[in-house]
Symmetry: C2
């Protein structure tokens, strides 16, 4: 009798197990640096020290955080020569990053206030403009600039975008048109590169606009 019971475990036990598993995802997303690493990995696969440098932390700490992300199965690794490449374990992870960020923006006033500090423009290009932007870009009415590092552009980019990494921008201004609008984007709303690019371009007399979204928000984040 007792042996039979043990095959069908207690309801409370199973329930606790279920919530515990979901909490592993929550735990993985409970650290600012881990979230930043996820966002970076939304841009494409990267080595540990690239991630460490871009997130402004030590490699040891990055390794520890990545270990935590891996234990929640949010990222996967692959050794390539001397380096270990990290990437998102699935496209759903990028979607989750966008979802949790969006919930945070809905619920936390402090976040909206912090965002306002870096967003001077009262109105930026928004999701509703997506189709229109693609159409205009296809027709060549607007130039879409991807100002992230070239490797990230190679991993994935918005339709009709051209690569123009931030570091090269100043030197390659002559390639850009002065008679058409330029739309710059980077890693997403929390990345400052595109904002800086727009500031520079406007200062030099270009018609530049900022698109806050990146590949993760457009559902184009690479997985492998």
């Amino acid at each position: 009798m007792r042996a039979m019971r043990s095959r069908k475990p207690d309801a409370r036990q199973v329930k606790d197990l279920l919530y515990e598993q979901v909490a592993r995802i929550g735990k993985a997303s409970s650290s600012p640096k881990r979230l930043e690493l996820i966002e970076l990995l939304c841009q494409g696969e990267k080595t540990v020290d690239t991630l460490a440098r871009e997130a402004a932390i030590s490699m040891k700490l990055a390794s520890a955080h990545l270990r935590e992300l891996r234990s929640a199965n949010l990222v996967a690794t692959e050794r390539r020569g001397k380096n270990v490449l990290y990437r998102l374990a699935g496209g759903e992870v990028a979607g989750f990053w966008v979802a949790i960020r969006s919930l945070a923006e809905d619920r936390l006033v402090e976040l909206r206030m912090a965002l306002a500090q870096i967003t001077d423009a009262p109105r930026e290009l928004t999701p509703t403009d997506r189709d229109a932007l693609i159409r205009r870009a296809r027709r060549g009415e607007v130039v879409v600039l991807d100002v992230r590092p070239a490797a990230e552009y190679a991993a994935a980019h918005l339709p009709y975008a051209q690569s123009m990494p931030m570091e090269e921008l100043k030197a390659r201004l002559s390639e850009l048109p002065r008679d058409r609008a330029i739309v710059a984007y980077c890693r997403g709303p929390y990345c400052l590169m595109a904002r800086d690019a727009v500031a520079l371009l406007r200062q030099r007399g270009f018609h530049a606009e900022h698109l806050a979204e990146g590949v993760a928000e457009w559902g184009m984040a690479p997985v492998r």
Copy 2:
């Protein structure tokens, strides 16, 4: 000069602040019991000791967890007489619960295995059946049973569903048809009430099926 600088703070500082805010949501979702409380609140507003009882924890602990959820602005409170009512702070929270759970199911094998323990049926009713279910229910071809407590039914329920709380089910079997299919649902995939209801109904010779989704999954969770 220094005063000017302080108006536009360092980029790293602002970025860190942004991720920190998002991490508040992650932290709130990093505890199994907090997630369970969120799911319960997806069913409607509840008092602290109702929540404590249903989550099988002490009221003190429930209060502490709810405090944490409130500090992340995921839930809101309102005093009504002797009791304090908790509810979701917004519909996005229910959406997030579904999203994080779905990511966990995608990424964590352990979760799928735990789920399999309580799901004997290889194939249950799925999201794709939604429209069909509504149509059949409207025509009266199928009876949709909400087996949650009456208060939760009152707060929100699936279209064309009728309330039949688990505790009353056995006594009210005569109200149910034997010539038509009966579809039972409860709080969601991690809730066992509907499964138990289906088991009982089948045993008594009814044509019963289980719908794993609840109001949160259908986007109908009440907010106030």
